[in-house]
Subunit: 344 residues, 2 copies
């Protein structure tokens, strides 16, 4: 049978309230050290474990954090990108990293549990209210903020991952896409390239991350006094530009885009980095295989998740809404080389 607090109290010769005070762990309760010690000892030998449900009812808190994963579990049909891999597979990898970061942080910060919710729809108060004290939302960067705005209505703090900007009442944690992109382009500039193209949807994509990445690209070129080219998102168009000597290096908005570039070049008998230096963004699992090792921008997904937990706990402790940007890291591999003569 389960041991109750009253039995511990009886065995220790104190009242239930005293046992509660001791085991709550909270200081400032004024229990004699000797008594406290005895209570702890008795609780241990009896194998007493406080009843979670009763405690939750009384304190109106659960100690649990909710995690909404917008992409995981969406069970959408996979979309082929460049015929090479699937976007949902990539998301799964990111979510895996995020899960890992969350787990680590939760354990080290002594959060009893993370409660997971698929993000898609019907995320009613019914499911969240009373089960968690606060919410971490891993937003799908390809979608808008609809889900986030719904969740913001809940009577609990919300922290959004993969997102930045002025969302009232919501703390955000994101990677610094713009700075990461700038760093990637600066790497190409340092290798002597001056004709650097941006590959991807960029501004036109409607995806904030991509827009920031293109902004970083433009920023780097402007700082170097060089012209930014119009974004390219057609393989053939890029191949033509390379053949004409208009482009010697490409910053691709994603690693998948970079993979598509490699494929398009290969179809024209061109190679990376011989004919074109190439930098991606994301450092997806498998980036080591692209072009024999794709130079790309690593996003610290696990660290972002851990930071999210810290921010959320801080807000539960009364801290104000905040916005955090984490630095990326340029992974220099073998797809970039010093500028040489043109091809074709």
């Amino acid at each position: 049978m389960k041991v109750r607090i009253k039995e511990v109290a009886a065995a220790a010769g104190v009242s239930a309230a005293t046992v509660s005070k001791v085991l709550s762990g909270r200081t400032g309760y004024a229990v004699q050290a000797e008594t406290a010690q005895r209570v702890r000892q008795v609780a241990l030998t009896l194998g007493y474990v406080p009843d979670v449900a009763a405690r939750n009812l009384r304190t109106r808190r659960t100690g649990q954090l909710g995690v909404v994963l917008e992409a995981v579990g969406s069970s959408e049909p996979d979309q082929l990108l460049g015929g090479l891999t699937t976007s949902s597979a990539v998301r799964r990898t990111f979510d895996g990293a995020i899960m890992a970061g969350l787990s680590d942080a939760a354990r080290s910060l002594n959060v009893p549990a993370l409660v997971i919710y698929p993000g898609s729809s019907g995320l009613h108060r019914t499911y969240l209210d009373g089960r968690v004290d606060g919410l971490l939302v891993s937003c799908d960067p390809l979608r808008g903020h609809q889900l986030l705005q719904d969740l913001a209505q809940l009577p609990m703090p919300v922290v959004a991952l993969w997102t930045q900007g002025k969302l009232p009442g919501i703390s955000t944690v994101d990677v610094n896409h713009q700075a990461g992109a700038r760093q990637a382009v600066e790497h190409l500039l340092n290798l002597g390239h001056t004709r650097i193209a941006f590959y991807g949807g960029g501004q036109a994509s409607g995806v904030e991350h991509f827009q920031r990445r293109e902004a970083g690209y433009r920023e780097a070129l402007e700082a170097a006094g060089l012209p930014a080219l119009a974004a390219i998102h057609q393989g053939e168009q890029l191949v033509d530009a390379v053949c004409l000597g208009e482009v010697s290096a490409v910053f691709a908005e994603t690693d998948l885009g970079a993979a598509a570039v490699v494929q398009a070049l290969a179809g024209a008998g061109l190679s990376v980095p011989g004919d074109l230096s190439l930098v991606g963004f994301d450092d997806i699992l498998g980036a080591e295989y692209i072009a024999g090792g794709l130079t790309t921008v690593y996003q610290p997904a696990a660290e972002m998740a851990a930071e999210g937990v810290r921010v959320l706990l801080a807000r539960l402790g009364g801290a104000p809404v905040s916005q955090t940007l984490l630095p990326t890291r340029l992974m220099v591999r073998r797809s970039t080389a010093r500028l040489s003569k043109g091809p074709c």
Copy 2:
């Protein structure tokens, strides 16, 4: 403010008890249909949501399922395998697929929430008892069953994923490694290969999955009346065997192993599938990149997770301990070819 059951009762002109009976959903309570309808209507318009904590306390159940992820969040240093990628990255991908499967299943089966626990250690009753009604454990195939045996002590049903065998009191759901391996080798046999090697630790690895895969390899060869070769797990050794014409095809215990084979062969100027047909196991993210498209055995991780949820719910409903094996699927890509003349 939150609406309480008493307010609903008052508004509907009945007592709180009646409201509870109606909203519990249970039949056999004998409430007049008309009354029930009115209560439901009132509850809806008032936006009444039963208090989770109070309900949990009263019913001694939570409606939540616990998920223990043994590998995710273990924050171990990555181990390099074949210099190509890392085992933890692979695990993350599998865990991602498992998370996706769990989420889908939980939603479609109307489970309010999944409570996630990092698997590593100190998974005390303190954390589990009273928070979840049952447990799904995604075991690390590379480890033993220590964690599982600890969890089996808990007063709740436990379902283990990625595991099979006779664990008292624990239901298991796993992929049929042996049948999958047999199928992979049969594919090589059908291409005319007769000198087929097994690459990996196999029996000697101490890892059950790998042992079963080697068993499947032997089974297929025996059924074809051909000799099984000793397991190889050195790249140079394999290269020698290929050059000597002793081996024309390899079944690798994992995709990472297959990647290592590709690399070793490339170092000796040999190629896949020209000089050697190669089949892997796992279908990891990135398998499309290995050897231009690795033929391999896909493991239905998401389906396995979904099945785990179903099994667990069944056990909560009184069903006995069970053991399930799910079929794999051979993904034929470009690393296998019909047997031709030997190289070197």
